[in-house]
Symmetry: C2
Subunit: 185 residues, 2 copies
């Protein structure tokens, strides 16, 4: 994939520095670079990426649009366990006790969305949600943020399409999840 | 060319920071980004770029190879006036006196190459060349460097394909030029 002398980087700029980008410097530049290579090698008409990695999906959409790569990027809804936990290879690392706590992530994001849809400010709903996750047993919160669905910039008011995104730790396992705001126009 | 919300940058990394990159920070990232867009919009089989902008040519070659863009990049030899001055839109800015001095750039690069081909060390030949340019009437030297023809890293010994590259000022006009090392294997 990376030939001798490889030096090129594709970066989505600000989009790569928000949310998970604050905790994983450089990660999304690596993603943008390798996905650009994959798309230009395979040159499909359509490429599908899961909504669970929502920031990754938005970065790929942005890079494909910005660099005029003639491929349609399709977001695929997150597949979940019956209790709401998003499917992820990382779930295998959870202890039985952690696995019991884990569904609180999706449940909390849905409750935060309901609060914003009912008129709460994004900030109030987000800080409430952070407290809920810790109370449920998550050991550390990286972020719980309500952001613009496209630019991923924090939303001050829910006046356009938004996304509730979070990353939180259960012991040594970091889980991420996200849901759309429903009330946005 | 740049749609609303544009955030993506393509960078050739170290290659963009050498030679002219030291004097024009960010310039070659802009070049790499817009050329990537142009190539992916037009999708030609072959794209030609002049050797006069040698660093630009090498950056485009690197990016096209690194990102698996299926386009052949063809370098086109520099076109020169009878006295050796490389054709450039900037030549129109030269006063009559500066125009008289300007061919010393190509003449000096050729003499530096001859010295290296005759066994001089790249460093000795480069420092000699810098002195020649100032003596000829150039008002400032940005660099005169003998570098690896592909990576543009400075060459300690002429044991592989190299390029003699320079940027120097005549009053308010900055001229660049380059010639290949001939003695390299």
């Amino acid at each position: 994939m990376y030939r001798e002398g490889f030096t090129t980087t594709v970066s989505a700029g600000a989009l790569a520095e928000r949310l998970c980008g604050r905790f994983r410097p450089g990660h999304f530049d690596g993603v943008a670079t390798v996905v650009t290579k994959l798309l230009l090698q395979a040159r499909p008409d359509i490429a599908c990426f899961g909504e669970k990695d929502y920031q990754q999906l938005q970065i790929i959409r942005r890079v494909v649009r910005d660099l005029d790569i003639a491929i349609h990027i399709e977001g695929v809804p997150t597949v979940r366990e019956d209790d709401g936990l998003a499917l992820s290879s990382r779930n295998a690392y959870l202890s039985a006790e952690e696995r019991r706590i884990a569904p609180a992530l999706h449940r909390t994001l849905a409750a935060v969305r309901a609060r914003v849809d009912a008129g709460a400010s994004p900030q109030d709903a987000a800080s409430w949600g952070g407290g809920e996750l810790i109370q449920a047993g998550f050991t550390k919160l990286d972020y719980l943020e309500i952001c613009d669905a496209e630019t991923l910039a924090p939303l001050a008011t829910a006046d356009r399409p938004g996304r509730v995104c979070a990353a939180a730790w259960l012991g040594k396992t970091r889980l991420i999840d996200n849901v759309p705001l429903k009330g946005a126009p």
